[in-house]
Amino acid sequence: MAKKLSILTLLFSYFSCLGQPYIEPFLLGLRSSISPSLNIYDSRAFAYLHGNMEIYIQPTNSVLSDIYYYLGELNSEVGSFAFNHALFVGGAYHFVLNNNDLFLALQSGISYTKVNPIVFGLSSSQSGINPLFSTTIGYNLYFHKFFHFFAHVKLIFGEHNFNIPIKFWDIRLSAGLGFNLNIKSPKNKPDKT
């Protein structure tokens, strides 16, 4: 176990020291993954298709947005929701070391939800918009001009109040390979030579 950890640490250090620093103002990060989630209030587990977009204003600050498309419930054959999509926008503060990027983000959001009427014994159900608040802790490792690894953990607070009240105290996980691109025109960049 210790050996595996040391190899991983060495690999991370190797990747993070490779080449030029990639985290610069106007760096655009695009990420997508299948995101499992757990509602810590009632132990319901869900899956989402997750998209994330981030623009760095400075290496330490960025604007961060997330979109979640509801795929279904994991621990039940008939899901409690007909749909439960969500959108978040907010900011992140980054602790950057070489190309290692640990960040904390705060986001405001909304979810568009509708409960499954069959599960709750209703003849029909209403759809509606619910406000959400989220905090995210994440790590990005930029190892290439166009690619990086990411692992994000998001904690979400909110409540569905249409037909049946359901609290959202969700932990959502996302990880994978992300795409990055510096959208600032090269001619505007300071000449490093």
Partner: protein, 206 residues
């Protein structure tokens, strides 16, 4: 004992750093437009606790005076009986009482907003009622200037509704939504956390 002393020193250094004038502080800061995203926590109201999402624009008029133009959508679960939705569209004037901008930039604020409230019985959405109203708010808060372009702001304000409130009544198992016969000086305490980004300068003082 040593740990306590160390904690005190760290706290003093931290607070001093927060209140040290910013090295990127502009000589005149008027004319800047900021855009932000905000989350509002509704507490100590007759409806109960709730959560809101919204956005804001901030236009700085002078070094000491800023204005905030906001819109919020707040949802409150009233004792698992009603869904109370508030839409707020309003403005506040912020006054910075410290001489120079620091990393922590406290302010007091006051303002006005138009609000729309719709109350709906959660289990029977056909029973619903709404009202339009007006409100005033007063509070305090602080920006935490994360950089020249970004700040995180925490505001605590009390909003007084200048209108007749909606409430519910349960009679023989039937729920009805009623309007009070007169307005109260009652409202809600709103705790708002926002992240703001400097967009551009609309005017420049010569």
């Amino acid at each position: 004992m040593k740990l306590q002393k160390f904690t005190h020193i760290v706290s003093i250094v931290f607070l001093t750093s927060l209140l040290t004038p910013l090295n990127y502080a502009q000589n005149n800061t008027s004319g800047y437009l900021f855009a932000g995203i905000r989350s509002t926590f509704n507490v100590f109201s007759s409806d109960g606790t709730g959560l809101g999402s919204g956005g804001q624009l901030r236009l700085q008029l002078s070094e000491r005076v800023n204005t905030e133009w906001y819109a919020d959508y707040i949802s409150i679960n009233v004792q698992n009986v009603l869904r109370s939705i508030y839409y707020h569209i309003g403005w506040s004037v912020l006054y910075y009482y410290l001489n120079k901008p620091t990393k922590l930039q406290p302010y007091i604020l006051a303002g006005h907003c138009f609000d729309y409230n719709r109350k709906t019985v959660i289990h029977n959405p056909e029973i619903t009622r709404s009202r339009w109203g007006s409100a005033v708010q007063i509070g305090t808060g602080s920006h935490l200037n994360l950089s020249q372009y970004t700040d995180l702001s925490l505001t605590i304000q009390y909003m007084i509704h200048l209108t007749k409130e909606l409430d519910y009544q349960r009679q023989n198992g039937t729920i009805t939504i009623i309007e009070h016969s007169h307005a109260f000086l009652e409202g809600h305490l709103l705790i708002t956390l926002s992240i703001n980004y400097k967009l551009f300068r609309i005017w420049q003082k010569n």
